[in-house]
Structure formats: structure tokens, C-alpha cells
Symmetry: C2
Subunit: 221 residues, 2 copies
């Protein structure tokens, strides 16, 4: 068995989900669109396009093309303002370093665009040579499996033996569709049952809790 | 049976939980205190004092008295900036109006202070004569039962026959301690199992979903 780890980024390794919610709120409000915030929260982790499509369907809204583009650009600008100082989630850096030390392969697979995730990668100190698959490189977004399949390919590892670590049900649903096992973290603000309902293999509070329990995934000391 | 409804405010009738999270984040960051945001989210609904005590214990932080006061004042100021335009949750106004039409007694019971909740009460159009119990009037905050007991007393109704409607586990735990039945709403961003784990009698998506199912609580047409 050659296990590898494919990490989501926002809400999994860096504490940015709530700033995404706030940025979407401000962007939508600026366009006079009103959406309950818990429903925005539950769609973070999708690409912006897919999230807005989902909200439009669930809330019976209609966006014009011009509105969609405006709201997405606004979100991006406001998000950058809100995240001048990106905070790591507890244990994120230590978890990645520990995997590297143990020669366990890992990659990053995020719906975000390369330009907007660079700050998070810098804060994490992701070494050169670690594959980083971003939303702009992949046509099909989570919950489609493509992004995790591409990440496993970049590692030259079988996706069926990969652990996908994520904070949202979209990560876990995509993991299952890729044939990988999903590991849920509570750091994105989902409850444990929501992650379990999306077929989480195991659930941990945060990266440091996962690090303390790596043996449960068969990673030896 | 003389049922009454005791409503939490933030996250239950008005869509303000995520702005509270963002305001706490900015207030704590301004004081160089780093707290994962999902853990802030899970304590919204307590008073500021109790939340900061909880975070200090759970994260092994130490706040000085000066820091506590500064962070609370900052939170209040930032929250006011973020909520110049308070959004109602779907069906909130209609639910309250429907109860009034049916001559079902209801009250508001919130941990917030009177000054900071006035905007929400105005947006909801809470009529004169409806009791509004705020955190500054009650010594013991949720999850202690006092605020709901006081609200039932103000209605001259038995708290044991009251439905407490809230979005957070603190509302539901306080309801149980008051001997009332808790009705959980998903609008605060908790998952259904978290609400069920805090003894919710029933769970609905939002006020409009509760309004459509009032018969489940024995409220006749």
C-alpha cells in the first residue's frame, strides 16, 4: 500500500472559509442580491461559478451574465482585502512537514485560482516540487473528482490509495467519486454528521488532531 | 396547553451570525490573538464574556482584563460597521406576524445588549408590547436558562409549555435547562446533528420552514 495525501487548502490548511463567506456576502449585497449566509457557507469549496449556480437554483434567483462576473470579481477583491494576514490552521505546517519527513507523498488540490492561493502556499511553506493543482487548471470543479485525480497523477500515485483531506462535503464527495478515501476536518465549520453523511472515512478536529492520529490511517511512526 | 414561542434573535430571525464571526476575528486579530474561526462560530450566541472565557479554556490562551475589554469593544464597533444593512432570515417577519394573528404569545430572548439589537428589532418590526429580554438585563447568559425563564414570565406563560426557537446549541441547552422544548434552525450554520445532540425537539431549515410546519408543534390553522 502506497498511501498519499491530497489536501484541500481553504478551511483545511488555512483559516480562510469565513473570510470567503464574508467576501461573498459583501459582493452579493453590493449587487443587491440577498442570500442567507449559512447557505453561502455550505457552498464554499466549490468554484465561484458552481456556487452561484447552486445558490441560484436553491433560492430561485436569476443572475444575469454581467452580474455573475461582477459578483465574482467583487468577491475576489474583497477577499484579498480581508486576508492580508492569512492564518494557518493549528498543526497545518507540522502535519505537512511530518509527512515529508516520513517520505509520504502529498499534494495540494484546491478549487481556488493560482493567483489567489499563492499567499496561502507561501504561509504554509509548501516546498518546490510539491504538486499544486488549482481550479484554473481543471475544467471540472469539486464535487467532480478531476482535481484529485490530477493531483494523484502529478504524484505518480494511485488515486485509489490516496487520502483526500478536506473540510467541506464537496471535498469528500469528490474523493468518493475519485475512488479515494475522504478525511474530514471540522475546521471549515461543517458538523461531523454532515462530513460523515458525505462518506468521510475518518473525521478529525483540525490538522493537529489528524497529525496525532496518523496511525489510524496506517502511517507508522 | 398554552404554547408560547421564545425566539433567539441573531442567526434565528436576523442573518447576523457570520458578521459576528468576522467582527470577532478582526477584533482578536487587532490584539494579536489568533483563534480558529470555526471555534468562534461555535460560540456565537453566548455573551462576549462567556465566549472569550470558553475560547481561552479550549485553546489554552490567557487574556488580560485590559485585553478582554478592548476585544469586546472592538467587536462591537466592527460589528456595527459590518451590519449597516441587517438582513432578515427568510420568513422571519411572516412567522412572527402569523403567530400574532393566531394569538400565540411570543417574545424575544437574546444574549445581545439592548443598544446593539435595536437595529434588528426595527427591521423585524417587533410590535410594542412584545417582551424583549436582552443580555444586559440578565446576569446569567445562555446556556443558563435564566433568559428564557424571564421571557416566559414576561409573557405570563408557563416556560414548561414554551417553544424556544434558536440556531445555536446554547439556545437549545438553555431551553432544556428551563424545562422548555428547543426548536433548532439551520440558519446559524450548525449542522442538524449538532442541534439534535443538544436535544432539539424539532429542526427546521429557517423561519419560513418552521412557519410551513407549525402544525407539527400543534399550532392549528
Amino acid at each position: 500500500m502506497s498511501a498519499s495525501f491530497l489536501f484541500d487548502l481553504d478551511g483545511t490548511l488555512v483559516d480562510t472559509v469565513y473570510q470567503h463567506v464574508e467576501a461573498w456576502r459583501q459582493a452579493l449585497t453590493a449587487d443587491a442580491i440577498q442570500v442567507p449566509l449559512w447557505q453561502i457557507h455550505r457552498h464554499v469549496g466549490m468554484t465561484g461559478d458552481l456556487m452561484l449556480t447552486a445558490l441560484a437554483r436553491e433560492l430561485d434567483l436569476r443572475f444575469t451574465d454581467g452580474q455573475l462576473d461582477r459578483v465574482k470579481q467583487q468577491h475576489e477583491a474583497i477577499y484579498q482585502q480581508l486576508t492580508t494576514d492569512i492564518q494557518l490552521l493549528p498543526g497545518a505546517k507540522e502535519l505537512l512537514a511530518s509527512l515529508t519527513d516520513r517520505r509520504v507523498a502529498w499534494a495540494i488540490a484546491t478549487s481556488g485560482e493560482r493567483a489567489s492561493v499563492q499567499g496561502s502556499l507561501d504561509r504554509l511553506g509548501v516546498p518546490d516540487g510539491v504538486p499544486v493543482i488549482t481550479g484554473d487548471r481543471i475544467e471540472a470543479a469539486k464535487p467532480e473528482p478531476d482535481i484529485f485525480i490530477a493531483a494523484a497523477e502529478a504524484l505518480h500515485m494511485p488515486v485509489a490509495e490516496a487520502f483526500v483531506v478536506g473540510d467541506s462535503i464537496w471535498d469528500l464527495l469528490a474523493a468518493q467519486r475519485a475512488g479515494a478515501l475522504g478525511i474530514g476536518l471540522l475546521t471549515g465549520g461543517y458538523g461531523a454528521d454532515e462530513l460523515r453523511g458525505a462518506s468521510a472515512h475518518r473525521i478529525y478536529a483540525d490538522p493537529s488532531d489528524l497529525l496525532r492520529h496518523l496511525h489510524e490511517l496506517g502511517i507508522a511512526e
